[in-house]
Amino acid sequence: MPDSANSNGRSAAPVRRKARGRVVALTGAASFLGRNLIGILEEDASIARIVAIDIEAAPTGGPKTRFYELDLTQPTSEVRIAEIFSAEAVDTVVHLAFLASPSHAAAYAHELESVGTMRVITACRSARVRKLVQWSTTLLYGARPTNPNFLSERHPLRARQDEPFFADKISAEHEAGRFAAREKGTVVTVLRTAPILGPTVNNYLTRYLARKIVPTMMGFDPLLQFLHEVDAIAAFKRAVDRDVPGVFNVVGDGVLPLSTVVKLSGRLGAPLPHPIARPMLQALWVAHLAEAPASFIDYLRFLCVADGEKVRRELGFTPAYTTREALVDFASAQRLRDVNLLQEPSAKKSGKVEQVTE
């Protein structure tokens, strides 16, 4: 199958695409976004082959999917990725190998996110991949009292650099930015998603809202914004389909105050004074009893809401769920989980698994 593609030569990417359909490679293919995106790409007739790269196989892989077991944290992995990209004649790379939740293994996370992105981009460059789609998050804007109510893509990334979870992601995004600036012919699309919420996704946010008693900050009630999991996956599909370079905020419409979020998910809010909450949360985080380190307290105090206008205008993507609908969808699934009516791995357990896989 790849023979005819190769006979056209490297430079004839568009021709190859028309003739046989595209080859899409996914890093972090077993992550939540990865495995769902594979499911969608499997059904797309215009995609000839899916190259799944991760340390474990995605359960959604079908006949089109080829799985490569590869650890991005290994020193020579960029050589292997480049080989895979060349051999499979990869047209589009979807880089999803990021942690969805903060991790205690900071060194591993740095190696995977910051250095891993560098490796993937090096491979893209040497294999002359036509297009790169990368995952990022709106958390990177940072929650600050001086933020405008709607952050546009031009706003600088001001998340706390002393928190490795943000610092690694910011450096990964800078890496993609440099790549886009240097390789003019390559389409680089970065999707900054709002915190993802939905009935099946499992991340620090769903675990936070799954608590019976949800800690909040006394006297602060920031507006929050979520993205439904389905919209997140659909946005990546759209970015794979359309060649629109740039950075895009992908967010659900509307905002909700934190207190209303807690109430709508049927939880009890426990307002804590923030000077006390910070050392307390840090201690709980060290003891593996909290979902996130103390730097996430900012997001319970100040605004970090992004403007999703650009993705609508340029990429033509409109989310189907609003922030509130995403939350309600999550809450209804969570209610079933609370009474053990939803047969799923429990939140804590699969969270661990996800951390290792991504």
Binding site: N36, G39, I40, E43, D44, A45, S46, P145, T146, P148, N149, F150, S152, T200, M217, M218, G219, F220, D221, L223, E229, V230, I233, A234, K237, R238, D241, G254, V255, L256, P257, S259, T260, K263, L264, G266, L268, G269, H274, F302, L303, A320, Y321, R324, D329
Partner: protein, 451 residues
């Protein structure tokens, strides 16, 4: 016939009201002259509209927006995306049906063909109302405590134990933590809406607070408003006012004034200083009742959605004015509001507020160690640190709001906002206008307390 009429009565979305009125008048004349023919034509038009609506509804799967990718997105996980897609089509159907020439005479046809959405909404509202009534009604009217129960329910939206069952259910409720959690949630949501607008205004919360705001406005400050005719009934505009008072009551009062007194009940969003949003409680509270953090992005977004924005260009220096500087306008920031007006083409309406500056006369500002508290300064008023929190209650001075004639900045060209000199000059012009008006108002005033 029907086709011709369809063109004439095409509803125009405010573009040319005259033309529309003409078309309507024509249509009415026609209706009077040939009522029967009209009816026939309507019947035809109705059929046509229905056919159109069906056409619109049927070829959905082949339509360009519903291509493979969309179908795949849908098939992946959820059944909801297609609901959204279908609902995206409903307005089209409606529009076409309305275009089909049934606009005003016959309500029946319109109900059948057109407003499916409105109909559904009406039915939903009705069902909601019935449910609401049912839930409000006590289950056992004959009980000795029914009046007490009803009283409790009026105040708190709780569900009493065993309300939907017998004594066993009641016992179960009383013994389960889940029941108490549920009631706590209900009480928590009683005075807030489940949805806020994009800048955080909570309509239900504000509604609840209205009596208090009205009391402050009408009885406490006895506010008088003049020059309301200068505030346009719709479209974007910038109100520029003098800032005052240790506590930011002025924004709230201007909002209340325009809501109560303006013929169009204009809704004002006021831009508040950063430090308010650093503070616990105050920031969340102000945000919920309509304050927005002052920055160019927010103001531009508000104006672009054709809203009325109130700015206090003096900013923090205005709040921190000492009593001996009252009614002397401070520097007008860096002219941000002028740039805003030049960029968005919004008219500037000067607003002078007299009375507010005496309601919390500040004698001294403590500026040491205030960084740790997140405050710009600690005010010293005749009452404040002395009486504790009670000292923050404003004095009942007489307030007067005067809106001046709009200052139109159009005709300065596109690059005017970058012309620093021009911006400074225009800002000074607005400042002078407000200062003059303030001076007259203060000199005409006989008493701080009675106006």
């Amino acid at each position: 016939m029907a086709a011709r009429k369809k063109k004439k009565r095409h509803p125009q979305p405010q573009g040319q009201p005259q033309a529309q009125a003409q078309a309507q008048a024509q249509a009415q004349a026609q209706a009077q002259a040939q009522a029967q023919a009209q009816e026939q034509a309507q019947a035809q038009a109705q059929e046509q509209a229905q056919a159109q609506a069906q056409e619109q509804a049927q070829p959905q799967p082949q339509s360009p927006e519903l291509d493979d990718e969309a179908l795949e997105e849908r098939s992946s996980l959820e059944p909801r995306a297609d609901v959204a897609e279908i609902s995206a089509y409903i307005p089209n159907v409606e529009d076409d049906a309305l275009d089909g020439g049934i606009s005003m005479e016959s309500r029946n046809t319109r109900e059948i063909t057109g407003d499916v959405d409105a109909e559904l909404r009406a039915v939903e509202a009705e069902v909601d109302r019935i449910f609401h009534e049912q839930s409000r009604r006590p289950r056992r009217d004959d009980g000795p405590l029914s009046s007490v129960v009803n009283r409790i329910r009026e105040v708190l939206p709780v569900e009493l134990p065993g309300e939907h069952g017998d004594l066993v259910d009641a016992a179960k409720d009383v013994l389960s933590t889940d029941y108490y959690l549920r009631q706590w949630g209900r009480i928590g949501l009683r005075n807030r809406s489940e949805e806020v607008d994009e800048f955080g205004l909570d309509p239900v919360y504000e509604q609840r607070l209205r009596p208090a705001l009205d009391f402050l406005y009408k009885t406490y400050f006895r506010t008088e408003v003049s020059g309301l005719e200068h505030v346009p009934s719709d479209g974007r505009c910038i109100l520029v006012a003098n800032h005052s008072g240790v506590l930011p009551y002025d924004g709230m009062m201007v909002r209340t004034a325009l809501r109560r007194e303006h013929p169009a009940h204009r809704e004002v969003r006021w831009l508040a200083e950063d430090f308010i949003f650093h503070l616990p409680f105050l920031g969340a509270f102000m945000n919920r009742i309509g304050a927005v953090r002052a920055c160019q992005e927010n103001a531009e977004r508000l104006l672009r959605s054709e809203r009325c924005v109130l700015v206090f260009p003096e900013g923090i220096k205005g709040v921190g004015k000492l009593y001996n500087q009252k009614y002397k306008l401070q520097r007008f920031g860096r002219g941000g509001f002028i740039k805003l007006a030049l960029r968005t083409g919004a008219p500037i309406i000067p607003l002078s507020i007299v009375g507010a500056e005496e309601s919390a006369p500040m004698l001294y500002r403590i500026e040491y160690l205030t960084q740790a508290l997140g405050l710009p300064f600690i005010p010293v008023t005749p009452t404040f640190p002395a009486l504790g929190p009670l000292g923050l209650v404003p004095a009942p001075t007489k307030w007067k709001l005067t809106f001046g004639p709009p200052i139109d900045l159009e005709g300065h060209g596109a690059g005017a906002a970058d012309d620093a000199l021009l911006v400074v000059r225009l800002a000074e012009r607005v400042r002078t206008a407000i200062q003059k008006s303030l001076d007259t108002m203060v000199s005409e005033r006989k008493s701080v307390w009675f106006g």
